[in-house]
Symmetry: C2
Subunit: 335 residues, 2 copies
């Protein structure tokens, strides 16, 4: 680490996506829960890969996608995540670095291979994910570069980090270091099933002030408060005293503070291709706005713009400059 300053640092699972189009029947036949992320072991991953169709391989990982999106907005960004010293690991490192992101987490020399997520995209654009966490299970306290955390205005953490055993320690330590120097800490709840696995911990992270900013979609929010009624969940969320951003697909997002709830419409799209990365890129746009001092409404618009870009093609990383896209849409970021 040099004395370089970063605007956002992400900590998350470093994953390579293996994407294939599929029919609804395939999901039924393989007992897959449409729209969800399921954890699978290496052999189950291999079996599902064998069954699924011809695939395209693109670097992914939820927080990593967000950080690449931030970099595309021109935000100085860094990422911490664990890959193995194998082909997929080198692809991941190459892609994130070439996206302008500072990444120097050491490669695991042995142990399980680099994580991969089998992404099955149905004709309606919905994605169903099956993740083998692999090398991510080796992310540990030692990987949290304290200077890097201190040097980054916002620390962004993914809820999925609760899955690999040692990562939550890294998560909590990073949040403590960030807060100790007055930086902000953001969390995405990641997935409604992830919320189901770690509900109490996630609520505690908000209530004990480990996190200041929380991203959730409507399903995750309902799961968090164990209610089928969105308004009930929203009211409970408003009482948590965090800055919240709740995404609602084509209905846009709600930005929740103790004082008010702000509705921001979604950006229009021409054609929905693959929803993978929608939430990740919303977070990128919102954080880009926040870290550059935009008002909350513009931050929400930037999130919507980035999400709209990523769902119109396969893969969860932007294929155009989000900085240019923002400018073209009258949302140029302050320097």
């Amino acid at each position: 680490m040099s004395d370089e300053k970063f605007e956002v640092l992400g900590l998350g699972n470093a994953i390579v996506d293996v994407i294939a189009r599929t029919e609804e029947d395939f999901l039924l036949h393989h007992g897959l829960n449409k729209g969800a992320m399921m954890l699978v072991d290496e052999s189950a991953s291999a079996r599902l890969y064998e069954a699924m169709g011809a695939a395209t391989i693109i670097s992914g990982g939820s927080a990593a996608n967000t950080i690449v999106g931030l970099s595309s907005f021109g935000i100085r960004s860094a990422f911490i995540g664990k890959v193995k010293n194998d082909d997929a690991g080198h692809s991941f490192a190459h892609d994130i670095r070439k996206s302008g992101v500072h990444f120097d987490t050491s490669f695991a020399a042995d142990g399980p291979s680099t994580a991969r997520c089998l992404v099955l995209v149905t004709p309606d654009g919905e994605r169903t994910m099956n993740t083998f966490l692999g090398a991510c299970q080796n992310l540990s306290l030692d990987d949290v570069d304290e200077n890097l955390v201190r040097a980054s205005s916002i620390l962004y953490l993914e809820g999925y980090l609760w899955d690999p055993p040692a990562a939550k320690e890294a998560f909590v330590k990073a949040a403590e270091i960030a807060h100790a120097v007055g930086n902000r800490v953001a969390l995405t709840l990641s997935d409604s099933f992830c919320v189901d696995r770690y509900r109490d911990e996630f609520l505690e992270l908000m209530r004990n002030k480990t996190v200041d900013i929380v991203f959730a979609n409507q399903h995750e929010l309902k799961s968090l408060y164990q209610t089928s009624d969105f308004d009930t969940a929203l009211a409970a969320f408003r009482d948590e005293n965090v800055l919240g951003a709740v995404t609602r697909s084509e209905e846009g997002c709600l930005i929740v503070t103790r004082g008010e709830t702000l509705a921001v419409p979604a950006s229009p799209i021409e054609r929905l291709v693959d929803t993978t990365g929608a939430g990740d890129l919303f977070a990128a746009g919102f954080l880009a706005g926040l870290v550059r001092g935009c008002d909350l409404r513009d931050a929400g618009r930037l999130g919507g713009l980035a999400a709209a870009e990523v769902i119109q093609h396969y893969g969860a990383r932007p294929t155009v400059s989000l900085c240019d896209l923002a400018t073209e849409n009258g949302l140029a970021l302050p320097i």
Copy 2:
């Protein structure tokens, strides 16, 4: 090999494509010849990969793309090509099999890794390719399954096979076996620089009747006859007494027989994204028409349709059913 019959068998280099968007400057800076395919060794490939941007990985290989296109048209197809027993080799095998293609060439247990082609796509949609042939260099006579060649109505060969030392023997042997049982043999000239390397051999293949059907684009044809005048090249080609298909990008194609030259217009497109695979998929459509007994004009139209599909997205393999696409365009293939 069972007693299964195939309509088209492809023999070619088995390659995984690593695709990145790039600017014109990058090509200049790295001394790359825009639009061409250049052979590079493993270390040059690694250096270029290090320099290029975030990439998407999709199975490729010229003849392999054609065969996958044929399968997408519903044509019973098979492929022979050499990969290593590594991650990329397994991806290649998975993808081509899952595309409905019969593929059982043995994996190389040692030697160089599976071939990869670094594909740089400029904003105008043109692609510039840098290929490390790797395991393709181990394709040999032993890989040509004689029963498979006999069982396939058309044998499709790529000019690029002249690059790996042992592959041309496999090429010639396969053609002899095919002709011995009355099957047809097709050749694509692959690339104008490839023609430059093997001009005399390619002319000889036509003149000694090793090949019956020849695919070329206008650049390759001019290179073949060492002329800058397309009409001169075309006249010379007409005298070769082969069935020729000459592609001319947005001007469509010319189908050349001894008796006549037939012009078929290109299929309209909405947006040019990546020209990778245009020629490969034209060959797929044309051969699909030919093997199913369509007239030459319809075969040319089918070629244009498949080429138009593949240039509107990244990667050289179709992303929709070409069989359905043909039907929707009034070109349903006879059973």
